[in-house]
Symmetry: C2
Subunit: 715 residues, 2 copies
């Protein structure tokens, strides 16, 4: 639990610095919202020119307050923020919420000013939310300490959905949309430039907060990758799904993310890898965020074995089946007893009595309820989807709500119509039956429940491959191939039988020992892409061919610094690419794909942050479409996936041995032979950062250098 | 123009057979809706037991009416429908709308009954809509002749969106949702079992109807593939986009489609191929259908060169950029003059002055309008997206609407909030400024405009490869390889140099003439998949190897019927799969993908119905991800795509020469060598249907055989 954030979000008293006396001005919003929602603590407007604001006694300075407030809201122009923080430090006030913009999201000048604030806050032990955000709304304790118009929504609906958003505007919109659907919110916290509190800290808070069951996350860029992963893991372990809208996937979007909250948007692929490992549900629209997170916050039961679908329109049943099947949600065949029961209940012209069941729209309410109950009673399904069209609104809605309340498994309605069915929808929303407006949203939410459930089980049971101890590495210059290969052998990476030699004669001797045919590769610090450099000869079938090729290679590479000639026995099989890259935010990532030159052409790869377990590696292999050939395909035999798994585990240990300085490691390809015949790494390539450099890119290094006057950002 | 459908949709008089006197019963809906909307023609309820219904004089039978009505609405039970049609035939009434269900969508019995109705209607020249649908709504002429509750919506909004739906319920929902957004509808026609009028005929109607600018199509399965393609082409040529929700993609969905409106759902891939060729925009939810079709029905200008984006929140700008970029919509850099103008208008803290522009939320209405105008004035953009957050609703909406009305290019707003911003949204909807609620929907609609525009240009300019004359084929039995190969040569398919021989000695002689290395393939009627049958030897480098391989093959295939041994010169290069398959609905389809065994592993193929133009073939090659290697990749040279195009054109001609009996043609692979060095087909395989069989699957062949009493389906 982030105790400091918990204190910040539930203050017994709030001072508002920069609160105008004219209540029609935007700056008065936090005061108005606190008043409107009868915030139970003390409110102290701080304003040197007025004795009273909005019915609250106002004070000239923080030092004049009758008590030390728990939180100070700072809404003054940028050049006065430092001063307020200084006063807070003197008075030992623990927490600040800084609305003001014009700091690290702007330019070098703004970054320096923010750094100054950070140093001051850290030395004084002040917890800071912001700057450049819209505050927070704590619905349970009635603390709408926010600039967002969502703070004025009536009523504040306390509930189980936690919201963490870097963007203040979007955080407010999520609250608004959730309330529109009667989805209760525990707290919405916007973090802006994250000088102090980050979304990771919010996740730590929500992981421990007993009233929060699900978190909606709106993120542009994660600043603290390791803490983020730890916080997500805590949520996952606590059984609280995180539904994330990760923005900044596009070039233009990333550029704006830099100037918006000053965050590097980071690689969407790396975020996706973390999400997959830890069970974060990724969505790409606000609608999906609210629908999915709202559903998961109210329904914890998971349709593991699938659902029964009942629809009042054939078209709707088809559409629903399409959407469920596309997301892998089973619609099992119904039990014979259920089919029989349906036969008794349904009229003759309702033709489909198995899943999905189309009851047609003419059914009476009584019969409809009995059909629903029959489906709920089917022992083979873990939920029932009720797809309703037509205008028989409130009556049908009450009927469905009644069955849902009594059912031991989720009954999930979806209402397709427009204004004609709004009354039914409102009725279900009001009765807290999570209801959808579209089969796509419904299917996405059910798929999210299943995906989180599966990822959580995998995460809890995982036994990561030990990282091992870092090996001693040369301080400067590249790692010689011989050193890399010997390290690989120690890490149990199965290298193809090979010898590093110095001359054509040496190559011939090595080839004779290894057995023909062999491959010949020139090895040297500048020869990363061997096929392009003409430093490679394949399929050399006898001594003459080896000698000729060696002579040719050496002649072609005259003047190039060489470590030697590598002679390798040729092996054939399915080629698998395995690599480790370092993400600036999330550290080393394992990547697996199909080998060969086409690997880069397609985005058909799987990715996970290290450390990983063997089970995760196996799951990764299953995610790569092109690697289905491993199971045997069109007459080609099934491959030695067990050996492949062991080889990849070796690569993971090798990455660990290369330690913090590893920038990238490529083993491309590992050749996988038939079952029982092994898998062999035939190419190793590692890039290290010099011992004096930092392997992490510095955040904001690409930001513009134009100076600007940092002023208040109103939003 | 479908003149008969135009007459059906605009009757001067309507007879309602089966209209109950009790107006609270569902069967009275058409009468109530006609009355409510002051249908200008005559309404004749037909009911033998009442003299007046709902204020209209009722008549005992059709023969008693004072005039011959233009349309008869038939809402009687299934066993009475035939009788009504007979009466219509006697009275020469031209059109019927049959609500009643229980026909071809149920079972063999129902199919036979429907066939009886069809024969009667055809011989009497009666145009039939239905059975098993919910009628139609003609908004311009005020004819809500429908059972759908959408017929009771107030007011009916005439507009430019035509709706054709096989599902009656979904057709009504589309109308409801369109009206909710103030989107006007020209007509909604539901077609159900399509005994007479099909959605294809609806498209023909909308293509000619001057009031319709865009069509929303909800389809489960197309029954008349050729007519459908013709009708879509007419719409495309007329510049009227079709936005289609094609259902029945899933196994379960297809099953329900059969029992719903009795249509075979058909292959989603084939529909997709037709869509791509003719510019149909495919969507997969009702929301997208309404948003995209509604937009296109009101905005004909196309953002060909991209758009400028202005947002009042950084988060919103990022989200929008993500969505636009994901759909390939350019956000060009702004002209220097525009950037300069923005510099004058925006406060210092608004940091992004190029596309996308984040103005922050604090800007005054006056400045916001001037920013919009500056962007509209930028010569490099074809539209402006205005992304608005915050609660400044109606004022901002009126401002945007004012600028949009004066602008010579589209200004497209998107409002992100929930209930707090509904007033602004309503204001824009009311002023007929197409407005979105989500950047995803906005980006999809703009992408649809661009895709239709590009597809239309391509379609209008296309010069299809001539089909050629069908060749004479053997009446029974398979086509010998020699005959197929000689036909291929005549069609200018560039076969790799090859000889068909009968003995090992013949193989050696052929290999010497062709030049080593060669490949050897056993050819015979049962040897389709040569790699699996062990009927293949590759890379034979000299005469000895050829002889040994030929002896081995012949020994291994002893007892197998062989046409001979095919000796081919080995060629290497990029392998491309080309095939023609026959879809039951849409006829022959050309398929292109990457060659080799992995082709089937991935869905990375492109597909078009024949005939195709060379330009379409070139576009197909661009759609296949794996074929990007053709342009050169990682040191490998660019390939002879010109020769590849010519080779594929040859395959298309070959398919034409094989004519109506062609079931499938596989040329896998065509090997494409370096630029200037040609492309060679190294494998040909054709499957024909026997001359006495039909190449088309019969619709409904897999339907259940359970007898049932066909009764009225109420929905």
């Amino acid at each position: 639990m982030s105790a400091r954030l918990a204190r910040l979000l539930a203050p017994r008293s709030v001072a508002l610095v920069g609160c105008p006396a004219d209540l029609s001005r935007p700056g008065a919003r936090p005061l108005l919202y606190l008043k409107q929602h009868r915030y139970p603590g003390q409110v102290y407007p701080v304003n040197p020119r007025h004795g009273e604001i909005g019915g609250f006694k106002a004070y000239p300075t923080l030092a004049d307050l009758p008590e030390r407030p728990d939180v100070v809201w700072i809404g003054v122009p940028g050049d006065q923020v430092h001063e307020v923080l200084e006063a807070m430090a003197r008075l030992a006030i623990p927490s600040a919420v800084i609305l003001t913009a014009g700091f690290a999201e702007t330019d070098e000048h703004g970054r320096r000013r923010q750094d100054g604030l950070r140093r001051l806050a850290e030395s004084a032990g002040i917890t800071v939310l912001g700057p450049n955000m819209l505050g927070f709304i704590n619905c349970w304790e009635r603390v709408p300490l926010t600039f967002s118009p969502a703070g004025g929504l009536e009523p504040l609906r306390p509930g189980a959905l936690g919201i963490a958003s870097q963007s203040g505007a979007l955080g407010g919109i999520v609250v608004n949309r959730a309330f529109d659907r009667m989805i209760g919110v525990s707290a919405m916290v916007s973090t802006g430039n994250e000088m102090g509190v980050t979304v990771s800290e919010c996740l730590e808070y929500f992981a421990e907060d007993a009233r929060t069951r699900t978190v909606a996350l709106v993120a542009e860029g994660i600043r603290d990758g390791a803490r983020f992963r730890g916080a997500v893991a805590r949520c996952t372990e606590a059984g609280k799904p995180i539904v994330a809208l990760k923005m900044g996937r596009s070039r233009a979007g990333r550029k704006n993310a830099l100037t918006h909250t000053g965050a590097l948007a980071g690689s969407a692929e790396a975020f996706g890898a973390v999400a997959r490992q830890l069970g974060i549900v990724e969505v790409d629209t606000l609608d999906d965020l609210v629908e999915t997170a709202g559903y998961l916050s109210r329904e914890a039961r998971v349709p593991r074995r699938g659902v029964a679908v009942v629809a009042t329109s054939g078209g709707a049943s088809i559409m629903t089946a399409d959407q469920l099947e596309a997301r892998g949600i089973p619609m099992p065949r119904l039990a014979p007893a259920t089919v029989e029961a349906l036969g008794r209940l349904l009229p003759d012209y309702a033709r489909t009595r198995d899943n999905p069941v189309d009851v047609t729209a003419g059914l009476s309410e009584d019969l409809f309820a009995r059909v629903l109950e029959a489906l709920v009673g089917d022992p083979g399904v873990d939920g029932v989807v009720a797809m309703v069209t037509g205008a028989r609104g409130v009556e049908r809605a009450e009927n469905v709500a009644r069955v849902a309340a009594a059912a031991p498994k989720p009954v999930v309605p979806c209402w397709l119509g427009g204004s004609l069915t709004e009354d039914g929808l409102g009725c279900l929303d009001a009765r807290q039956v999570p209801t959808f407006r579209s089969p796509r949203a419904l299917a996405s939410a059910l798929a999210a429940a299943r995906a989180f459930d599966a990822a959580r089980a995998c995460w809890i049971a995982r036994r990561p491959i030990p990282r091992g101890r870092p090996a001693p590495l040369p301080v400067t210059g590249p790692l010689p191939y011989a050193a890399l290969a010997s390290l690989a052998v120690r890490c149990a990476v199965p290298l193809v039988p090979e010898r590093l030699v110095a001359s054509p004669e040496g190559a011939v001797r090595a080839a004779r020992r290894l057995g023909f045919p062999v491959a010949l590769k020139a090895v040297g610090p500048g020869l990363a892409h061997k096929t392009e450099a003409g430093a490679l000869a394949l399929g050399l079938a006898d001594a003459r061919a080896v000698r000729a090729a060696a002579v040719l290679l050496l002649r072609r590479l005259r003047g190039v610094r060489l470590e030697g000639l590598l002679v390798q026995r040729m092996v054939t099989g399915v080629e698998v690419l395995v690599g480790v890259t370092r993400d600036a935010t999330f550290g080393p990532l394992l990547v697996v794909g199909a080998g060969g030159v086409e690997a880069e052409l397609r985005r058909d790869t799987a990715c996970r942050p290290l450390p990983v377990s063997r089970r995760e590696i196996a799951a990764m292999l299953g995610e790569v479409q092109a690697l289905r050939v491993l199971d045997g395909w069109r007459g080609s035999p099934p491959r030695d996936t067990r050996a492949l798994l062991a080889a990849i585990a070796g690569v993971v240990r090798l990455a660990g041995a290369l330690g913090e300085r590893l920038l990238s490691l490529d083993v491309n390809p590992i050749v996988v032979r038939s079952r029982g015949q092994g898998a062999f790494a035939v190419d190793l390539l590692a890039a290290l950062v010099p011992a004096d450099g930092s392997p992490r890119a510095r955040p904001c290094c690409g930001a513009p250098r134009v100076p600007a006057t940092p002023v208040r950002r109103i939003e």
